[in-house]
């Protein structure tokens, strides 16, 4: 998303951070993107159910505010590494849903030309260095990207998204330590949705909050309600400022919830229907953000309807684009293993 707006009026002085920081147009665009993420994943799920997509996918429905909030203060040059639950990050960082659908459908027009699929979705041009099938796999890579930024003095900030499961991987600890030692412009964002597959953080993680781990690496550890866009965006904004100032990394723990199971094969045996229902009805990030926008006068029902309608069209077009795109040739299976030498 674009940088901060100067259009802060006195009337907004008591409003939460983002309503002071960004223009109405920017905020409406955030809602648009949150809907785009939600509908994209619903569309992907529907296509999967219809047998148009193979493999599996990990849906982030319920976590849209986290993805959008973190990416809000990032510029197009800034970079992210993402996770297996990365569709939201990809869209938040600026990807087009039609090329994402195409990738899910395994088509040559997809972001990875059909070689990566959901779990490796990337959009390098927009700074998304890629989702990752390995839990914690992207964290050291983000640190490396931040090292590049520092060495090449590009001013880029790198965000590493990961889940609560990754905080128990060695890579997490090694990477945070190095980033802190070298004061690299990287932000570690743990989207804690409460479960690493089926194992709750309470059963898997010794500390109460994953942000508590930050103390071990001498960096700020910030906890935010990941379902409230403004809270997430505010924490991200501060972390980006700190990173750009050369003060080093931040660990943000964005507490959120995934409405869907871990993947398409999840039978939901580790959490109750009541728990899921509570998060969906009372803490849905899109509903919460929509209500605030309406309450603070940034949008009306008509505007919301217009966004929903536009998103529906975009999703339908995207799926159509994916369906009609060509598949790769079998003869090209060996492509991209190595760089093609001239």
């Amino acid at each position: 998303m674009a940088g901060a707006s100067k259009a802060v009026t006195d009337s907004r002085a008591n409003l939460p951070f983002v309503y002071r920081q960004y223009s109405a147009e920017q905020l409406r665009e955030v809602l648009h993107k949150m809907y785009l993420i939600r509908r994209f994943e619903e569309g992907a799920e529907d296509s999967y159910t219809r047998g148009l997509i193979h493999g599996t996918m990990h849906l982030s429905i319920g976590q849209e505010a986290s993805a959008m909030g973190i990416c809000m203060p990032l510029g197009e040059d800034d970079q992210i590494t993402s996770t297996h639950r990365g569709h939201g990050h990809c869209i938040a960082k600026g990807a087009e849903v039609k090329r994402m659908f195409a990738e899910f459908f395994g088509k040559t027009t997809g972001y990875c030309k059909g070689r990566g699929g959901s779990m490796h979705i990337a959009d390098v041009a927009k700074g998304n260095l890629g989702a990752n099938g390995i839990v914690g796999g992207g964290i050291p890579i983000a640190v490396g990207a931040a090292l590049s930024s520092k060495m090449m003095k590009t001013g880029k900030v790198v965000v590493s998204f990961f889940g609560d499961g990754a905080n128990n991987e060695g890579a997490f600890h090694e990477a945070l330590n190095m980033a802190a030692v070298w004061k690299l412009p990287v932000i570690f964002v743990c989207e804690n949705n409460g479960y690493g597959m089926s194992t709750s953080t309470a059963r898997s993680t010794a500390v109460k909050n994953i942000a508590d781990r930050a103390a071990a690496y001498s960096m700020p550890g910030v906890i935010v309600n990941g379902n409230i866009f403004s809270e997430v965006a505010e924490a991200s904004y501060k972390a980006v400022e700190r990173a750009r100032a050369g003060e080093g990394p931040t660990l943000i723990e964005s507490k959120t919830y995934r409405h869907r199971g871990h993947s398409k094969s999840d039978r939901n045996r580790y959490r109750t229907k009541e728990e899921i229902e509570d998060w969906m009805s009372n803490r849905d990030p899109i509903t919460l953000f929509e209500n605030e926008l309406r309450e603070f006068g940034f949008i009306d029902d008509k505007g919301i309807e217009a966004i929903r309608g536009a998103v529906a069209q975009e999703i339908a077009d995207g799926i159509e684009f994916a369906k009609t795109s060509p598949s790769p040739e079998i003869s090209e299976t060996g492509n991209y293993v190595y760089t093609e030498q001239a």
């Binding site: 059909g114 050291p140 640190v143």
Partner: protein, 332 residues
């Protein structure tokens, strides 16, 4: 040109190559454990930190996985890192980043990125470092599409192949035998490259092809000198790169000599020897074989501490001589 050729050790040749690479390209930098003021566990980086500073000769924490990942991430975003593992055995700690990330990133992303990382692995036995510091794991990485895996056997190749690796857009894994570091040989000054993926015929012969890697190349040459006195004319092929393998050179050599022996230090089973043997069996050279293929590889044990046991676990010159003699004289 001769005036520019000096005798350098293998370690000096690598150090010179890294210095040249850093001089030529500011994106090139070094990472690794104790490669700065300490000079690296085997003094390969030496005093480079004094010449290039701590910003370009970076001591990492003891974090092989994280360090490798940082190198991958830096390579992915425009830098040209050369990452030194203190011992090749520690690749086991970093396998995730090497195998899942570095090797596959370009492919997974449909060719949108490349990962021009170079990783150096001091490998092999003979130093009394026992089981966890003496392994030869090159075949592990050789099994992974997306990686290039090389084993220079001389100071000349060490420099030229490292420079080729730095220039290569894909991840290149260099396995350097620790006992080679002190080996001296002619090395030209300045920049030159030795191509990755091209084997070298170190010695021409008529009776037997020995395909050897790394330190075994020299052992094979020593064996060949002895065998020559017995009238056995050995051709020694230095494989140099195990992925992508230079099949044609080996095929041509076997077609000429009709006999093949593979000599390598790594554990014999499921290794380079199996690959070379099978490749020959599948090739047109099969119909030129006049004797069974023989593999001489490491014993099916961890590397032991006791020096005599340690020697016994890997092929030595007398083993090569005996096996070659049996093969050519028709005992096998």
């Amino acid at each position: 040109m001769d005036a520019m050729v000096r005798e350098l050790s293998y370690a000096q040749a690598i150090q010179e190559a890294m210095a040249i690479a850093m001089d030529m390209d500011e994106r090139v930098f070094l990472m690794g454990e104790d490669i700065g003021v300490y000079g690296g566990a085997f003094q390969v980086t030496g005093d480079l930190v004094e010449r290039y500073g701590t910003e370009r000769v970076i001591d990492t924490p003891i974090s092989e996985l994280g360090g490798a990942g940082v190198a991958v991430g830096a390579a992915l975003t425009g830098m040209r890192p050369i990452f030194e593992f203190q011992f090749s055995d520690f690749a086991t700690l970093a396998m995730e980043q090497i195998v899942n990330q570095a090797a596959k990133m370009r492919f997974m992303l449909g060719g949108e990125v490349s990962v021009p990382v170079v990783m150096r692995f001091p490998a092999g036995s003979g130093t009394g470092a026992a089981a966890q510091h003496s392994q030869s794991l090159e075949a592990w990485l050789g099994h992974v599409p997306g990686l290039k895996v090389i084993q220079p056997a001389t100071p000349y190749d060490a420099k030229g192949m490292l420079l080729a690796a730095v220039a290569d857009p894909d991840p290149v894994m260099i396995f350097e035998h620790k006992l080679l570091y002190k080996m001296k040989g002619p090395v030209p000054e300045g920049y030159y490259t030795v191509p990755i993926g091209k084997a070298d015929i170190r010695r021409e012969g008529r009776d037997l092809t020995i395909v050897a890697t790394s330190i075994m190349v020299q052992k094979a040459l020593d064996a060949a000198a002895t065998l020559e006195a017995e009238g056995i004319d050995v051709e020694v092929v230095d494989l140099r790169t195990i992925r992508p393998m230079d099949k044609q050179t080996v095929i041509d050599s076997v077609k000429k000599t009709s006999r093949l022996m593979c000599v390598y230090e790594a554990v014999k089973t499921l290794g380079i020897g199996a690959e070379v043997s099978a490749m020959i069996a599948e090739s047109e050279a099969f119909d030129y074989l006049d004797a069974p293929i023989v593999r001489l590889g490491g014993a099916e044990t961890p590397i032991p501490y006791n020096p005599e046991l340690e020697k016994a676990t890997v092929p030595q010159v007398p083993d090569i001589i005996a096996a070659a003699r049996d093969l050519v004289k028709g005992v096998r």
